[in-house]
Amino acid sequence: MIEGILIGLSTALTLQNIFMVMIGCFFGTIIGMLPGLGPMTAIALMIPITYGFDPATGLILMAGVYYGAVFGGSTSSILLNAPGVPGTVATSFDGYPMAQQGKAGKALAIAAWSSFAGGTFSAIYLLFLAPSLSKVSLSFRSPDYFALMILGLTAIAAFSSKGQFLKAMMMVVLGLMLASVGQDSLSDITRFTFDNMNLTDGISFVLVVMATFAMSEALTIILKRNDPTAAAKQVSLTELGSIKIDKEDRKKMYKTIPRSSVIGFLIGVLPGAGATIASFLAYGMERNLVNDDEKQKFGKGSVNGLSAPETANNAACSGSFVPMLTLGIPGSGTTAVMLGALLGFGVQPGPRLYMTNPEIFWSIIMSMYIGMVILLILNLPLIPYIARILAVPKNYLIPLILFFSITGIYVMSFNNFDIYLMIGIAVVATFLRLYDFPMPPLILAFVLGGLMEENLRRSLLLSNGSWEFLWDRTLTLCILLTTAFIVIWHIYKTFKMKN
């Protein structure tokens, strides 16, 4: 293995490849910041360019684009509450409030360091555990995935404080209902489309997230006569963009990062689970682990609440490379595009990849890490300038948020029906937000809806309609017991606090 790592390092550290990672990180960050254009689009755009290079260089460029786009997505989440990709939704829960308090630079710095640390930990896990974890990931069956989705939904506990549990559950059901619109994945039967062709493919994630977060946030600001730049006006531009993280906050991150990286990496390894579930789970887990004082800060700019999902989503990104490289199974849409590129280079991923093409296997792993180092070096000095977006006057900032949201939707489908649908959902979401109905549970349920139905279908069909699959397998039972424990613990804590 040491020999492989050295081969990988020597390939990744050539001047040409370092330059490629830098270019990739830079373009990835810009593309990731544009709503609607996530890592998958960014990598897909790079494929034609990479065919001019050798496989290792091409993949190194794509790894840079990947990490850059994930970081870019976090930036728009934190500054504008406009997460362009599912993996960065949880980042906005505490990142956006922190930025609103005039600490935009600090929020971006916490995100950058957490991403880097998450990536570092997961690169270490990847080095030592990749081959054995691929076998574990294959042992997961539909009932386990279904149980995992239920566990993912327990993250809503984080939004159900102050007697809002029923409101959060109603939003979960609404999210699942929205996810059920469109063709059934197995039979192709259309559901809830009301003969409207535009709904046949269902409602896109970006549309729902832009409507419920970015657009509804902009409308709420106008409706409530708030000023999102008020806090930024109270502090100097230097303070707004300051990337200094004080000792107390660093201490919190030291605890959060290792545990979130483990959960992120393990979830990332599972095909189909990915960064979204990882970030929500890490957020929910972190909220359960911190003390009561810190728990009160969640959703209001908590350092732990920002660091946990950022660490987990980056760790999950690395984790998703495990099934792709070792089994040839892409764990996410992004790795599916990368798998296509690998096949285009004539490289067949699978258990023998690191025996037949060690320089590619190890240079991908090494370049991913170097990509993260370069991303940090490139982006930290830029944060003070990026944070100044919040110093833009409200009369310009709100229309620009609306512009990026609507454009993000339009470039995805070139269909004005999606714009109307987005406006409709945003108006309903704005009204619901006025009465403290939380939006994150809706988004989480919307993301998990399709996967939940798919795995419940398989489980029920395999068990011939019996619900015994829930306790037939030890793994399923363990996940469900963990879920039950979290729910009971949460109810107990709420009850205790009330008393």
């Binding site: 755009l45 709100i398 004005n416 309609g465």
Partner: protein, 156 residues
């Protein structure tokens, strides 16, 4: 009877769940799938009942922390104008094209939000959209349909 808005929202959600459940039962599945343990309408039916259950609970249980919204303090006029501008944007984008509609959308939004610095408003609409369009269309090669720019010969 004094009923708060959260309860009204819960009631609306309850009615919506009834409608959703009714529609779920109307989903036509293949004949061979009708008695299968799981078909296209199974999950939506569960969801419909879950919606009834949670909104029903919210309706009947006491609401300890009622949210009070001062409607007099809300800015309905500007919000409605922004929504109308966005709807007009959706209605015209395919006919007129991305450049003009987006530029007018931004310019109009700045104006109705109270901005009057005309030069800055202009710079942050027309040239800004042109630069953004160049990034999407020219650099990233994402095709943007624009009949107006095609008509004046700027786009092929």
């Amino acid at each position: 009877m004094n009923i708060n808005t959260t309860k009204i929202i819960s009631l609306l959600f309850f009615i919506f769940s009834v409608f959703y459940l009714y529609t779920a039962y109307q989903i036509q599945v293949f004949a061979f799938d009708e008695n299968a343990p799981f078909n296209a309408k199974t999950f939506p039916i569960y969801l419909g009942y879950a919606g009834l259950f949670f909104s029903g609970l919210k309706l009947i249980l006491p609401d300890p922390e009622t949210v009070k919204v001062e409607h007099r303090n809300l800015e309905y006029k500007k919000t409605s104008i922004l929504i109308i501008i966005a709807i007009i944007y959706g209605a015209t984008i395919l006919k007129i094209g991305y450049f003009l509609t987006t530029s007018f959308f931004l310019f109009g939004s700045y104006y109705f939000l109270g901005e009057r610095r005309w030069i800055l408003m202009f710079l942050l609409s027309f040239p800004f959209v042109a630069a953004f369009m160049y990034l999407l269309h020219g650099v990233l090669e994402i095709y943007l349909r624009d009949p107006f720019l095609q008509f004046i010969g700027v786009m092929g």
